[in-house]
Amino acid sequence: MLATQAMLEQGIHVEGINFYTGFCVEGHTHAIRKKDKAKPKRNNALWVAEQLGIKLHIIDVIDEYKDVVINPKHGYGSNMNPCLDCKCFMVRKAHEWIKEHNFDFIITGEVVGQRPMSQRRDTMPVIQRESGAEDRLLRPLCAKILPATLPEREGWVDREKLFDFNGRGRKPQIALAEKMGISDFAQPAGGCCFLTDAAYSGKLADLWSARGERRYELDDIMLLKVGRHLRPRPHFKIIVGREEGENRFLEGYRKQFTHLYTISHPGPLVLLDGEANNDDLQLAAQLTARFSQGKMAETVRVELHEKGAAKRELDVAPLTNEEIPVEWYL
């Protein structure tokens, strides 16, 4: 937002590009969960673009991004976050976009030393090089401590009006925002990508381990954001809706998955992912009962919709907390 405003103040025409990878946090979970209904569901990129008065192009890169997540050349951060590869990928896509749309250069809000992987003095040139953007990539917030880029050398941008921010602190950015009259801005650090989240990364690693291969589809990564995930056996896991909004979201997947729900008591919708034999289905039904309001009852009636089979009803004893090993929880 600050980098864009700095360009606008120099009279430069700027349009925004926002890449949608499928791992963006945004308002997804808020949109799904009923208890979060009151939370704002705005898309921050759109909101920022509107505040700045610029156009914003949102680009679906879900399929292309898979290779970044699955085979990151520069490795992962503390979780499954391939930050440096991700930045190289996005700047490369932005570079392709500007060539196609006759724009002259790319700006980002990066600051030297701000992030441990992708915004270090030694990795920022890697992004320029591997993206192919080279010196058409300008970082207005720290340009003064980096070599001059093409737009600066050509005089399209006045380098003297750019900034020399560095390090993790955000005081200079906050002061600049105040000077620019910007009082409301999106969450300043991290938190925008599920791959930086330890719990989410653990579920993704489990998915790959269970499948015996590192691949995913959009539905897989959406489902990792929703519900309580338990893997009682290596060959199947269950996803338990935690509240009405999640149950409604999971309902959309009923045709693709074996699913269960309690009929004698109110309870969650449970999806079963994997191959389950009769013993497994019995166990899944007991778990479904455990997470229902009948968890203290002697028996709970569960309706089972096995993929490709007629529905049937099972009377089961809910598992107790003690019968559910903590390792089952993903």
Partner: protein, 78 residues
């Protein structure tokens, strides 16, 4: 001028916006599109996208958890 319908149900934002953006890009000014959605976030995001790009929201309806957002393609939009 033609009227179109776009199904973006069961998609979470920003997919309904992306679908709208890509669909509208092929249409001439004055055409209208009813975008069907289920993500309540679309009620904020599609109008915001329209304001940014010069399109007009001509109506929104909600029924049984489904939303219909009607958009008129702008004259100077892209």
């Amino acid at each position: 001028m033609s009227h179109h319908q776009l199904d973006a149900r069961r998609m979470l934002c920003p997919m309904p916006v992306i679908r709208t953006q890509n669909f509208v890009a092929k249409l001439p000014a004055g055409d209208t599109v009813d975008v069907l959605c289920t993500d309540p976030g679309a009620l904020h995001d599609i109008p915001a996208w329209c304001r940014i790009h010069g399109h007009e929201i001509i109506g929104t309806q909600e029924q049984d958890g489904e939303l219909m957002i009607s958009v008129r393609v702008g004259i100077n939009a892209d």
